[in-house]
């Protein structure tokens, strides 16, 4: 990819502790510094810095032609990005909240996803679509959804989700550097969660964008998850450890493509798998993981693959979201069932 410019001009000292949201901001800044073709588009991303302040300060430093406050129209934002990409730009679009991506759905699945294929590879779509997603912040309707599955099912799109500050910083840069369109799902309830980030690191030695990561090693069972629930799964594993169980946790990071090698290796070791995400169980990412694991690890499995995910209901009012969202208890309940299987 073409990162041509001279040394970045606004880099802070690394490594340092940053909240996930600020790590994204630093990643965006770095990408803009390195490539003048990177431009940001979205509602309220300029002076306001976005409703979650992820683009804070960028318009001030890069000007209104590189950080564009758009009219209030998601289809317009993505459709414009398509044209800009055809012109050689690398647009990074912000969709303000998960539930507002649907007005742009047509542009994303009919245009962004298919142009490279339709033009026999002549037209590239290096578009990054950032989506703060998921629940847990007590928001009103349409502000807590997990629509990643729709996009993961669409050929031509790459879909990723970060779960911690360091990944957020690297993955956003990798997504922007990708010549393919990337749906970049940001776990909004983890924006304020801090982690160590080396904002000066080179992408050359970065962990690959589409590789899953073992975030906690264990031997008794595997939990596969991504995005906001990685933190929850780690909490569950801590509790399980007190009860004497060693749980391995895999952060998928990439939902399309899926890194099944990492998942399969873990399941072959532990023999038990629980998949958890906030999106509905039915036809979710977990269903794909489960199907592939039974195909490739059938003889290693000691228990059925279990899923702990959102219900097949619309996201409920805030007062009920603690019931909707998988928590450590529900995850542990599944882990216990997996561990108990076949041991009567």
């Amino acid at each position: 990819m073409t990162a041509t410019l001279a040394a970045p001009r606004t880099l802070p000292i690394a490594p340092r502790t940053l909240p996930l949201g600020k790590a994204l901001n630093a990643g965006l800044r770095r990408a803009m510094d390195e490539d003048p073709k990177v431009i940001l588009l979205g509602e309220d991303i300029g002076k306001l810095g976005g409703v979650f302040r992820i683009t804070e300060g960028l318009q001030k430093d890069f000007g209104p032609n590189r950080v564009i406050d758009t009219p209030l129209a998601e289809s317009g934002i993505i459709g414009m990005a398509v044209g800009l990409a055809i012109r050689g730009y690398r647009p990074v679009c912000e969709i303000q909240f998960d539930g507002f991506i649907y007005p742009a759905f047509d542009q994303i699945v009919s245009q962004v996803a298919k142009l490279h294929y339709r033009t026999s590879g002549n037209v590239k779509m290096p578009i990054t679509i950032r989506v703060p997603y998921g629940g847990g912040i007590g928001a009103v309707e349409h502000h807590s959804e997990s629509p990643e599955g729709y996009f993961a099912q669409t050929a031509g799109l790459r879909v990723v989700s970060c779960s911690n500050a360091a990944d957020a910083n690297t993955m956003i840069r990798q997504a922007i550097a990708s010549d393919d369109p990337v749906l970049f799902f940001e776990p909004k309830r983890r924006y304020w969660q801090k982690g160590e980030v080396d904002v000066t690191a080179s992408l050359d030695d970065a962990y690959p964008l589409h590789k899953a990561r073992v975030v906690r090693a264990g031997t008794d069972a595997t939990i596969v998850t991504y995005g906001p629930l990685v933190t929850t799964a780690l909490q569950a594993a801590d509790i399980a450890a007190e009860e004497g169980h060693s749980i391995e946790i895999i952060d998928l990071r990439s939902l399309s493509p899926l890194d099944m090698d990492t998942v399969n290796a873990s399941v072959r070791k532990t023999g038990r798998l629980v998949v958890t995400h906030e999106a509905a169980t039915f036809l979710g990412i977990g269903a794909e993981v489960a199907a592939r694991v039974q195909e490739h690890c059938f003889f290693s499995l000691e228990a059925p693959v279990l899923r702990v995910c959102g219900f097949s209901t619309p996201y409920p009012p805030a007062k009920l979201e603690e019931h909707f969202l998988p928590d450590a208890d529900r995850i542990l309940d599944a882990v216990d069932r997996a561990l108990a299987f076949g041991q009567t």
Binding site: E43, D44, G46, K47, L48, G49, V51, D69, T70, P71, L72, A73, S75, G76, G99, F100, Y102, P103, G138, A139, V140, E141, H142, H143, T281, F282, F311, S312, T313, P314, P316, P317, A318, K319, L320, E321, H323, F324, D329, R330, D333
Partner: protein, 364 residues
Amino acid sequence: MNANSSADTLIQIVTPEGKRTPQSEYSDAIADVTIDTVRELYEDLVVVRRIDAEATALQRQGELGLWAPLLGQEAAQVGSARALHSEDFVFASYREHGVAYCRGVDPTEMLRFWRGSTQSGWNPYDYNMTTPAIIVGSQGLHATGYGLGMKFDGAEGAVITYFGDGATSQGDISEALGFAASFSAPVVFFCQNNQWAISAPVSVQTHITIAERGRGFGVPALRVDGNDVLAVLAATRIALARAREGSGPTLIEALTYRMGPHTTSDDPTRYRSAAVDDEWKRKDPIERIRLLLERAGGVDEEFETRVRDRADTTAAQLRAGCLGTIEPSPMSLFDHVYAEPHSLISEEREHYSSYLAGFEGARS
């Protein structure tokens, strides 16, 4: 009515100083309005502002998750809502608490949505008014479809839909204007141009007036001083009359100002200068009616007491209702996903119910 002139004269009946403008075709539309009607409108404005202030306070106290204040937009909402008949149907956005109040929605019912204690709000058929549309602009098409249905049914009445200046950038609103014009749907498109869509000034959405945009779709348009309750009442009556007589849609652009934040999560100081806020304070929709009434000798102690009592009572009821909310039970999560039984939901409901039951045993 002259809704097709491209020159956008701002319809005004009461100036910010509380003086009547000269008689016009628009004042004819409210010829029946007596000083008592103006007193009632004033009372509405005060009560609606009070509901808004109380809800904002409840949010600050942690009782509501969020609130979208209407401060400054009372006249646009009350003036238009008081032009409606009970059989008319309202398709609202998320800021129309004043309209909801005029439709008779119990303020407590409005709050519970923002508290996160209920699904979208009330039963739309109880008040002929939809619950908040969070997806910006979506309601415009719904209004047009409903209006077409009314037309097919030969029903009395009309439809009104509310949206902001930002919403006019959404395809849905453009499509709605186009459809309504094509099918001559009995719809009044009521845009509260409050100058801002969160941090984006109206100039980001359009370089011509919103009224002109309507005309571009073949929808006649009126541009009205949205802080002038009488002018809004007149313009809306004219537009509704057109709809009722089968002459099709009208767009009303009510020029107003969002004096506070976009929602209680927003910080307008990041993008807006206080100087403009001050300028609009001088055009306050309540103040000018008060001046008009004072001038006409319509304010006495009895009236003042009546208005104050009504505002106090409404605020107290609203607070008590909010604090007394009975929160939804966990299993209600699975209610109403479908109108008919669905095996997936039944399965998940049963599974979660036994999960919770096992938990109770373990913990108690």
